[in-house]
């Protein structure tokens, strides 16, 4: 018996010592030091099943790094740049689009990339009802490097879907061809359903793409990508490996920032953390617009909110600056002119009509005046409706969305202080975005996104006037909403009466820039004047990058590259790498020993300053600290006497 205890104790001791001594070894050996590794967080852990299949919901995506699109969309300038497609022709008269593919492209398994792969991907996108199929009726392979699309409906949005959104080519014919052929031959919805189910269950051997980096492995702690030597632009790729640590919590992400163990990322940071990270000598943070914000939605089912004066009064009570601050000062900016148009393109679209727009600066006396004019009365600090009831509103926002909840609390307080009785409710987010709450129109005031992640204003107005998450506005804001906006009288620089919904649909199809601008301006004026929603603040994305390890494009001169991170920061990183904008910092990577080396770090952005930092020149995320495994030893010290005790 006693012998067994000794054996147990010995095994434990050996394990603890092994564990402790292994902590003394550097994770990356000296000879590996020159391998240039970039760290940016990922979202994937095994179970690997369903992680490699690009049609499964939680697959490893990595657009821009492993997978590529036909074109890169410069969000800031609304321009498309060749990627897998070398060029394209839009033949309006023939209702066709011809795509000419790049010729020297290979899949990571060595197979040549051809037009058949584009066809396969598009057929499988058809299976999943991707939006591109609203605009096209067929895809044909003309030759190995030419694809022809038959256009069903010409729209200004066509290039967006055809070159960018639904143009990520993820399905090589030699792997997914059998599914694509089945889709092409399928006659009924049930056949398509069966193919869909089989496709999602399909388990490819690995993640496959044509991008600059090849998927190497996934473990419980990270995904590892290595440079693809046969990449069509391999000469410009200066990074050997990309490691994507699995980090789930923002709080943990900040710790990685602080320790310099991430090179590029977009974790949300509250003001205090943002200030601290900005001060780090090796870190830089560039803010870009997320291309979305939050707005108050007025429910037209509520008879009082159908009255424009009441909607205006609420808008005048709200202090947009304070609300943005409450939501997260470093990540939100109050809107200047509530129109639905995003700040980043405000000047382009509405710059010349700003004098006709109302900024809705906080003005409680104006709000009082408007409510009184609408027949409301104020007694003992509380507002009463024209029929003598307490003016009470429910305000619903998704629970757990801490920024929105904080903003909603601030608005609730402001409205309460003004005398409007507001009840704030925070249902769980998946419930909020369902018929139970917001999408079913069960609220008086609610929050929704505005801007809708697109610099071309159609997406923003579509969300304001037509639909949210496929639900018509009549369901979300009531039948009266549509009636109200069917015949709206224009004012300011415009005249006449328009249908806001039809105007929005027109914006999707027109190509003439002048006509686009005129339509967008009219819609912006309608939003600003009639307040179907009240946009409050725009979200900003905070892009952290390590300037000690890498040289990055200057945000002052290449802001479009950074702005591309909205809606896909890894893709923006991929594009910067492909085009040679991200380069290893020689002072860091060419250091020859682990002795402390002074490094000069130049911080760009608003204040350009030079700081001297003393650091140990080893690869990112490595450790050479020769410390013992203290806690393990403590645990052993506590448990071993217990095992070795003798019975008397």
């Amino acid at each position: 018996m006693a012998g067994r205890k000794y054996v147990l104790a010995a095994i434990l001791m050996v394990l603890v010592v092994l564990s402790a001594t292994s902590a003394t070894l550097p994770l990356v050996k000296a000879e590996q030091k020159k391998e240039v590794v970039l760290y940016t967080h990922g979202w994937w852990q095994p179970y690997p099943r369903n992680r490699y299949n690009p049609f499964a919901p939680r697959h490893i995506g990595l657009t821009g790094l492993v997978k590529e699109r036909l074109a890169f969309w410069d969000k800031l300038n609304n321009k498309y740049e060749p990627w897998l497609a070398e060029s394209w022709e839009f033949k309006e008269n023939e209702k066709k689009v011809i795509i000419h593919l790049r010729k020297n492209v290979y899949w990571h398994d060595g197979q040549k990339f051809t037009a058949k792969d584009v066809w396969t991907t598009l057929m499988l996108y058809k299976l999943f009802n991707r939006p591109i199929w609203k605009y096209i009726s067929d895809v044909k392979v003309i030759d190995d490097y030419t694809v022809e699309y038959d256009v069903k409906e010409w729209s200004y949005l066509l290039p967006y879907y055809l070159l960018y959104r639904d143009a990520e080519i993820v399905a090589p014919y030699h792997i997914y061809g059998k599914f694509a052929e089945q889709v092409a031959k399928a006659q009924s919805e049930s056949e398509l359903n069966n193919i869909r189910t089989e496709l999602i269950k399909f388990e490819p051997k690995t993640v496959l793409g044509t991008g600059p980096f090849k998927f190497e492995k996934i473990t419980t702690s990270e995904v590892v990508l290595v440079k693809f030597d046969k990449y069509w632009n391999a000469d410009k790729i200066h990074i050997d490996k990309i490691v994507l640590p699995y980090i789930t919590a923002n709080e943990v992400g900040w710790l990685y920032y602080r320790s310099g163990q991430l090179d590029y990322d977009v974790f949300m940071m509250p003001p205090a953390v943002y200030d601290e990270i900005k001060k780090l000598p090796f870190a830089e943070v560039t803010k870009v617009y997320d291309l979305s914000g939050f707005a108050i939605v007025y429910n037209f089912k509520n008879p009082y909110l159908r009255d424009l004066r009441v909607r205006e009064a609420i808008a005048y009570v709200i202090d947009k600056q304070k609300v943005a601050q409450a939501a997260g000062g470093s990540a939100f900016e109050p809107v200047d002119y509530p129109t639905g148009i995003l700040k980043v393109v405000e000047d382009k679209w509405i710059g010349d009509i700003k004098s006709y727009l109302n900024p809705y600066n906080t003005n409680p006396s104006k709000a009082e005046e408007l409510l009184k004019e609408a027949g409301f009365t104020k007694k003992n600090g509380k507002w009463y409706t024209p029929d003598g009831k307490v003016f009470k509103l429910s305000f619903v926002v998704p629970g757990g969305w801490t920024d929105w909840v904080a903003a909603a609390k601030e608005i609730t307080d402001e409205l309460k202080n003004f005398g409007i009785d507001v009840e704030l409710r925070t249902p769980e987010s998946s419930s909020y975005w369902s018929e139970d709450w917001y999408l079913g129109g069960n609220y008086d005031l609610a929050f929704d996104f505005f801007g809708a992640w697109m610099t071309y204003p159609w997406a923003a107005f579509n969300r304001i006037f037509i639909e949210v998450n496929d639900r018509p506005k009549s369901q979300i804001q009531g039948q009266d909403f549509e009636k109200f906006f069917e015949n709206v009288k224009l004012g300011g620089p415009f005249s006449g009466t328009v249908n806001a919904m039809q105007l929005t649909e027109k914006l999707a199809v027109i190509w003439d820039p002048k006509e686009q601008k005129d339509t967008a301006q009219k819609l912006a004026w309608i939003v600003n004047h009639y307040l179907p929603i009240f946009p409050i603040a725009e979200k900003q994305l905070m892009i952290y990058y390590n300037v000690q390890h890498f040289k990055w494009p200057d945000p002052k001169t290449h802001f479009n590259l950074w702005q591309a991170a909205a809606g896909g920061h890894q893709e923006a990183l991929g594009w910067m790498i492909i085009n040679g904008y991200v380069q290893p910092n020689p002072s860091y990577w060419e250091a020859t020993s682990t002795t402390p080396t002074p490094t000069t770090v130049v911080k760009t952005e608003t204040q350009v300053k030079t700081e001297t930092v003393t650091k140990t020149a080893t690869a990112t995320g490595t450790s050479t600290s020769a410390k013992t495994c203290g806690p393990a030893v403590l645990v052993a010290l506590a448990i071993i006497p217990l095992l070795m005790r003798r019975r008397r």
């Binding site: 852990q45 919901p57 789930t248 990685y256 975005w433 410390k627 495994c629 019975r647």
Partner: protein
């Protein structure tokens, strides 16, 4: 013949007792599984919408892309009335089929996901449970032995404070100090990419290193509970006549402490310990989340976030079965380790 029948007669009460307990355990499992099914089904939210929202808010996707991706889960969402779903779930459950994951790993059997996660959880929570229990009873006994002294009062307050600190705070502090500051331990996952999983020394070393901080977090939070319970139990035992008698007999104090006080004082903690073994299978949601540890707790967190009904049910039902079995084993073992109970039975 006579001898064997009389021996059988002798075992009859035990057999009867065991059958009764087993029946109660099965009924408990049935009701708990039923209750968890309806509670999970009554939760608001739809998995496809939850996935869309997750893609939009976490992966920064636009709605249409998120929607087309999330809708891939649709074929795996059970159809029909809740009652119909309940009956088919129950039949599947009895056959050991826990359904398929809808969102977390669409189309993957929940059983496979659990089989993959449970070993990690058992490693971390199981080791932490044993370590915290062992340290807790040692400290608790020591505190009781000097009860009323300054050190006892100090430790009682100290452990009460430690006990009230949330798990994730302890986990974050350890991560900051030992993961990022001293860099003694890895900060995420269960093993590094540069080791080959299998029964080899580098892998075992790596796994131990990765498990160290999650184990330590669990131990710090839970050791105080065991210590305070053990102290309370020991103080009660100290007043018993047989302790006074043992002292009068002049037995060595170490023997009194271990054999007379410790053994008797530990009995009330035994049931809690056994139940903790059952709950162990649920993992530690916050600790696993902070350390991105691939255990059952992390799986449960993902399942709840994504409204993955069958994955949630799978985790809950594993906990239910494990707790009920642990309680049954505790019942049986209690009779073995405490002769008074055995005689009573």
């Amino acid at each position: 013949m006579d001898g064997s029948s009389s021996a059988l007669k002798g075992y009859m009460p035990v057999l009867k007792w065991f059958t009764k307990r087993l029946l109660i355990a099965l009924i408990t499992i049935y009701f708990a599984v039923t209750l968890s099914f309806f509670v999970v089904k009554a939760m608001p939210g739809d998995p496809v919408q939850a996935l869309i929202q997750m893609f939009v808010s976490q992966y920064y996707m636009d709605y249409d892309s998120a929607k087309s991706l999330a809708e891939a889960a649709a074929p795996f969402i059970p159809k029909g009335s809740v009652l119909h779903q309940y009956i088919s779930y129950l039949i599947s459950f009895l056959h050991g089929n826990l359904g398929v994951s809808i969102s977390y790993s669409t189309g993957t059997p929940v059983k496979d996901l659990l089989i993959q996660s449970i070993p990690w959880t058992v490693l971390v929570v199981g080791s932490a449970l044993i370590i915290s229990f062992a340290i807790g009873i040692l400290i608790g006994t020591g505190m009781a032995y000097v009860h009323g002294s300054k050190i006892d009062s100090f430790l009682a307050v100290f452990f009460s404070v430690i006990r009230s600190i949330p798990e994730y705070v302890v986990a974050l502090v350890l991560l900051i100090v030992f993961g990022f500051h001293f860099k003694w331990f890895p900060t995420r996952g269960a093993y590094s990419p540069n080791v080959t999983p299998g029964f080899n020394l580098p892998f075992i070393k790596d796994v131990l290193k990765h498990a160290a901080l999650p184990i330590l977090s669990w131990v710090i939070v839970h050791v105080s509970g065991w210590a305070l319970s053990m102290r309370a139990s020991t103080v009660t035992v100290l007043g018993e006549d047989y302790i006074t008698y043992a002292k009068i007999r002049g037995l060595p104090s170490r023997r009194i402490l271990v054999s007379y006080i410790g053994k008797n004082a530990i009995l009330p903690l035994f049931t809690s310990f056994m139940l903790s073994i059952g709950f162990m299978f649920g993992g530690s949601v916050f600790i696993e989340y902070i350390f991105a540890y691939p255990g059952v707790g992390n799986l449960l967190y993902q399942a709840i976030t994504m409204r993955d009904t069958y994955l949630m049910l799978g985790v809950f039902n594993i906990i239910i079965v494990a707790v009920v079995i642990s309680a049954l084993i505790a019942d049986i073992l209690y009779g073995v380790i405490d002769p008074r109970i055995r005689r009573g039975a």
